[in-house]
């Protein structure tokens, strides 16, 4: 049943993983940004009277944000965008597979393959090297116990599943509008702000925070990182992961309807 989807997932994962230069460049950029943000928070906390999170938690949140930056659906799958532009998207219809599942498997592989090397390097740097060289105060603190680690892994997995549903939705917009510019232009700012990647969601005005934590983008960054920090533990964490999965289901169903409707209308021009 799942054979075609697993095959394309693994092929794409291996292919994207080969882009070592991109991973290293991304890692360097993310170290730089992470360092800048930690310095800014450091200055902010020096003068702050009441902060919504402890400094240590904010710093961990920041490094995790750099490690898992690629969860943000800030652009459509470039492979799909390319196929739409060249008309090769026609071949997609020639495969005996469900169109949504096909794009979903590829989006998941693409996200995972970009995250794996960057997250690995970032953990080693922020959680191991920084404390060793005496920068522990500005480094990544490990979770309190094994339960938190297990819940964090579940939340990260849910974030990956959720992120891929958003990428597929962007792909649909690209296929419908025949260009990736529009979709990418609105996806980046929305996802960066609403996920907590720009600043943790806790830093938003108090009245907004509960609502911000209900919307789907929170499941990409804010939810797993609060699990890491232990702010979400036990049943609260399980509930938050449930919310991530619920959004995955909703956006998945929405995406599947949208893919079918767009692909049945798509007219392959020329040739």
């Amino acid at each position: 049943m799942l054979r075609p989807y697993l095959a394309v997932l693994s092929a794409r994962f291996q292919l994207v993983l080969q882009y070592r230069a991109a991973a290293l460049a991304g890692f360097a950029t993310q170290c730089w940004w992470g360092g800048m943000k930690v310095l800014i928070y450091s200055a902010f906390y020096a003068g702050a009277r009441a902060a919504p999170m402890s400094f240590a938690h904010t710093v961990s949140y920041t490094w995790l944000g750099q490690a898992f930056l690629m969860f943000l659906p800030w652009y459509a799958d470039p492979e799909v965008a390319d196929m739409v532009r060249t008309g090769a998207v026609a071949y997609e219809r020639l495969r005996p597979v469900d169109a949504w599942g096909w794009w979903y498997a590829r989006a998941l592989a693409w996200t995972a393959a970009r995250i794996a090397p960057r997250a690995g390097l970032m953990f080693v740097t922020a959680a191991v090297i920084m404390p060793l060289v005496g920068l522990g105060r500005w480094g990544l603190r490990l979770p309190a116990d094994g339960a938190a680690v297990a819940l964090f892994c579940a939340a990260i997995l849910a974030a990956a599943l959720l992120s891929a549903t958003m990428t597929v939705l962007l792909n649909v917009v690209v296929a419908a509008s025949l260009t990736d510019r529009g979709a990418n232009a609105f996806a980046a700012p929305i996802s960066i702000v609403l996920s907590g990647s720009l600043v943790p969601l806790a830093f938003f005005p108090h009245a907004f925070v509960p609502f911000l934590r209900l919307q789907p983008f929170a499941g990409l960054i804010d939810t797993p990182f609060r699990v890491w920090n232990g702010e979400l533990a036990g049943l609260n964490a399980v509930g938050a992961i449930g919310l991530q999965l619920a959004w995955t289901l909703v956006l998945g169903i929405l995406g599947r309807c949208a893919v079918e409707s767009v692909m049945s209308r798509v007219q392959v021009q020329g040739g």
């Binding site: 054979r3 075609p4 697993l6 095959a7 394309v8 092929a11 292919l15 060249t86 008309g87 090769a88 026609a90 071949y91 219809r93 020639l94 495969r95 005996p96 597979v97 469900d98 049945s264 007219q267 392959v268 040739g271």
Partner: protein, 330 residues
């Protein structure tokens, strides 16, 4: 038994009309106007199992639209169509699992993957039994001489090598019906011959039904026993290649080589078509003068060195046919 049945197939595209100039562009923002283009205006034909049909017509005639509908990519505006008992656009997933498609202008293999990895991926996509896949793959690799190419990424292949791989890729799940849309476009002469040989072999030895669209009439001449000619969205001719050729151009040709410069020949019912140094191409009407009589008459009066009866070039037949039907590109 008919494998493909098409009845009254219609397809209209709606395209946005933009008036020229800046003012036209601004007006288009406020009120977009649409124009309907009729790509297919009622097309009907049937193709039997094991046939090799050449599907030809000028650019924009509706060839590709028909192929796209038959392969399940495009939904028609009207009419009916069944392939092996399935309606392509309604039963898309089941339908596409049974057909093979090659678009000469696009690639279905992954650009960055070695050919063999692309094949393996197709095995999983089409859920082919691994043992059966190995057998089919090895047969195709032997048939198309792909052995040395298998480890290379697709982007490093020449167009001719790639096209052989594409055709093999389309056959890995052993479809009974193969659509080839301009498979020889852009290929050099040896590569074209190789592709033609492959397609012929697949059709003859494996009984694969082939629907071939092309602008290269040599492809048609080498492969197709039957041609369907389409122009401006309607079928203009659907008959065996020989009958088609005879119907369009009744005249026959001889090419004669002379010892000296080619002479002027005045025999009733014979016209000069081309002359080049000592060689002369003559057209004759077989109803007025038979070939042996013509050859005897020339040999009696002129220093003849060699003479061959030839068929008019298929390009010429097609061009004449399009002219007759006013079917050239709009």
């Amino acid at each position: 038994m008919a494998q493909v049945v098409v009845e009254g197939l219609r397809k209209t595209y709606r395209v946005a009309v933009r008036e020229p100039g800046a003012w036209g562009a601004i007006r288009g923002l406020a009120r977009r106007r649409w124009r309907e283009i009729e790509a297919l205006a009622g097309v009907s034909f049937a193709i039997g199992t094991g046939e090799l049909v050449g599907f030809i017509g000028p650019n924009g005639a509706g060839k590709s639209t028909t192929i796209k509908i038959l392969s399940g990519i495009l939904r028609p505006s009207g009419g009916a169509c069944e392939v092996d008992g399935l309606v392509p656009w309604r039963d898309r997933i089941r339908h596409v699992a049974r057909i093979g498609v090659v678009f000469g202008q696009r690639t279905q293999l992954w650009w960055d993957l070695p050919v063999i990895d692309g094949f393996d991926l197709l095995r999983d996509i089409y859920r082919v039994d691994p043992a059966r896949y190995r057998r089919t793959r090895d047969e195709l690799v032997g048939l198309m001489r792909l052995g040395p190419l298998l480890d290379q990424p697709v982007r490093q292949l020449s167009l001719g090598q790639r096209m052989r791989c594409e055709i093999a890729a389309a056959m890995l799940h052993e479809p009974r019906l193969l659509f080839l849309d301009e498979p020889t476009i852009g290929l050099d002469a040896p590569a074209k011959l190789a592709v033609r040989e492959l397609v012929g072999t697949l059709n003859r030895e494996r009984g694969v039904t082939v629907v071939l669209t092309t602008h290269d009439m040599q492809d048609i001449e080498a492969l197709a026993r039957r041609v369907i000619v389409i122009g401006k969205g309607v079928i203009l001719a659907d008959e065996p290649l020989d009958a088609f050729r005879a119907g369009v151009l009744a005249e026959r040709r001889v090419v004669a080589d002379f010892a000296g410069e080619a002479p002027r020949i005045a025999i009733p019912g014979v016209e000069e078509r081309a002359r080049e140094g000592r060689s002369l191409e003559l057209a004759f009407d077989p109803a007025r003068i038979a070939a042996p009589a013509l050859i005897a008459a020339i040999a009696a009066d002129y220093p003849l060195e060699d003479i061959r009866v030839v068929q008019p070039q298929i390009e010429e037949v097609i061009a004449r046919f399009y002219d007759l039907h006013g079917a050239g590109e709009a």
